[in-house]
């Protein structure tokens, strides 16, 4: 038994070391965002909220934040409407075709974002269209839809379809079944998928880089600022985005857990 405990202890130690490796760089960014010094080097000089105050008085940042929220909101709407209907359709259709379609819907997730970005840019160029926040939304929907389809599809695969059959036997029509049985059961999964597509859109810089016109999203602004070096404002801005995605991620996780607890 002693050896078993030893291996458990060693593995536990490894686990927490890896967690440290994952989070320490993020903590460094947050730490420097509160440092009074102009340059981000040790030792820390003193504690200040000043960089955050400066951030909130910066009109450029406010504008970029609004753009990002605008893009993310539409991305979530598009991804949820198209992804959820697609997942519902796929879950009722079994066979080669639905497997192939599921693979097709998941494909944009596997490809590097760079490829999504440049192919969309080429397409827009070929059509002679103008780049705008609208084209960013289209690009982000390619990031969001696969996650929505996979999350909702997984939930639909695990619930008891006899519930729907029972409703149908009792005379409910197709849309009544979807509205009164299917949607309420998969609601937590849909909410989780919505939160995840929000944070994916809110944090994306690669697809936005190729598909945005003159307007900046928040990560694009951060990207531009980084070219001039890492200032305390950059750290503060980065910390704010970390906070937003952190909260969204925790909420999404809680929703996912809720979704596996609801009746099957």
């Amino acid at each position: 038994m002693e050896r078993r405990d030893a291996s458990r202890l060693l593995l536990g130690l490894w686990f927490w070391t890896v967690i440290f490796f994952l989070f320490a760089p993020l903590l460094v960014v947050i730490l420097f965002s509160f440092n009074t010094s102009q340059i981000s080097v040790l030792p820390l000089r003193g504690f200040t909220f000043g960089w955050y105050a400066k951030l909130f008085s910066n009109a450029q940042i406010g504008e970029a934040l609004l753009n990002s929220l605008f893009v993310a909101a539409f991305t979530v709407a598009i991804s949820i409407v198209l992804g959820v209907t697609l997942a519902i359709g796929l879950s009722r259709h079994h066979g080669r075709l639905s497997n192939a379609l599921l693979g097709f819907a998941a494909a944009p997730m596997i490809l590097p974002r760079l490829i999504l970005g440049v192919s969309l840019l080429t397409f827009i160029d070929a059509l002679g269209l103008r780049l705008s926040l609208g084209t960013v939304m289209i690009g982000h929907s390619l990031i969001g839809i696969p996650y929505v389809v996979l999350i909702v599809n997984a939930r639909l695969a695990s619930f008891d379809h006899r519930l729907e059959e029972a409703a149908r036997d009792l005379g409910a029509g197709f849309f009544t079944v979807i509205r009164t049985i299917t949607l309420p059961i998969i609601k937590p999964a849909i909410l989780a998928a919505a939160l995840i597509s929000f944070t994916l859109s809110f944090d994306d810089v690669v697809v936005a880089f190729f598909t945005t016109g003159v307007e900046n999203t928040l990560p694009m602004l951060l990207w531009g600022l980084l070219r001039h070096g890492i200032t305390p404002e950059v750290n503060a801005l980065a910390s704010v985005t970390l906070l937003v995605s952190g909260i969204t991620a925790v909420a999404a996780e809680l929703m996912l857990r809720l979704s596996t607890r609801t009746p099957r």
Binding site: F21, F104, I115, V118, L121, I138, V206, S245, E253
Partner: protein, 280 residues
């Protein structure tokens, strides 16, 4: 309404959207890859010139080799780091397993731009590591190769994509039947032998799936080499981005992208057959 028809009606909008904004752009890209540029104008036609340049020019060959090397090393390191993590979570933890798993996954949902530039604060000339080394008297001058190098890019890519490796390995190990191990132990196999002959082979499908999830985005990395690579850590992604940005060489950029998509497609289709994904 007939059920079958309703199902197709449900699938159509999503599939149509992806066809228009994902599939057609890919076709557009493939088409552009055969076109050429003259006098800053894109000229339609059919020429293999871009592909010849991509394959034949030693500069791009070097870049391709470096890109693949970085992606391979990133994948192998992720494997080594992630396997014990997944094993611990799946086989050794009893309580709060999901919460601990979430700790590993959570960084995936935070900005990779931030996760990338954080390393510049750590690895830079005046970064935390260099200051630490100098304070400890281990070096007199800052270690220069830490940042703007292949090393920095690889380290950051491992940091960014490693959690993708944990998930599929965890999923495989969690379903794994512990009685197999007991049987092996009862028959006299040592702990290591039981691990090497039973646990490890059975977790291969998860390792393959995780390797695809790490290798592919590392191969197409753009932000990380751009911020941390300098010239020595430049990757194919940077050159592709340049063709679509400053130099306006869409056709050549398209050819490079098509080659990358081809590599990804081959890897994914081979990988799917041997991974935990193909079976679900």
């Amino acid at each position: 309404m007939p059920k079958r028809f309703a199902n197709i009606a449900f699938m159509t909008p999503g599939i149509a959207w992806l066809a228009v904004f994902f599939l057609v752009p890919m076709i557009a890209l493939a088409t552009y890859s055969f076109w050429s540029v003259s006098n800053y104008q894109i000229v339609p036609g059919f020429s293999l010139h871009n592909y010849r340049k991509a394959v034949g020019d030693p500069i791009f060959l070097d870049l391709t080799i470096r890109t693949i090397r970085i992606a391979v090393i990133t994948t192998v390191l992720s494997m080594i780091i992630a396997y014990p993590v997944a094993y611990y979570l799946a086989r050794k933890v009893r309580r709060n397993r999901l919460t601990l798993l979430m700790l590993v996954i959570m960084p995936l949902w935070t900005s990779y731009l931030v996760r990338t530039f954080a390393w510049a604060l750590i690895l830079g000339r005046n970064g935390i590591i260099n200051q630490g080394l100098q304070a400890a008297g281990m070096t007199d001058a800052p270690v220069e190769w830490l940042l703007y190098s292949e090393f920095a890019v690889t380290l950051a890519l491992v940091h960014i994509y490693m959690p993708f490796m944990v998930l599929p390995i965890y999923a495989v190990l969690e379903k794994f039947d512990g009685r197999l191990l007991e049987a092996a132990r009862d028959m006299g196999a040592s702990r290591w032998r039981a691990f090497l002959t039973i646990t490890l082979p059975l977790s291969l499908p998860g390792i393959v799936a995780g390797s695809i999830f790490v290798f592919v985005p590392a191969l197409g990395a753009y932000v990380t080499p751009e911020l941390l690579g300098g010239t020595g850590g430049m990757m194919l992604g940077n050159v592709i981005a340049q063709q679509f940005g400053g130099t306006f060489e869409y056709p050549f950029g398209s050819a490079l992208t098509v080659l990358m998509v081809a590599v990804v497609a081959v890897l994914v289709s081979v990988g799917l057959r041997h991974s935990s994904l193909g079976r679900s």
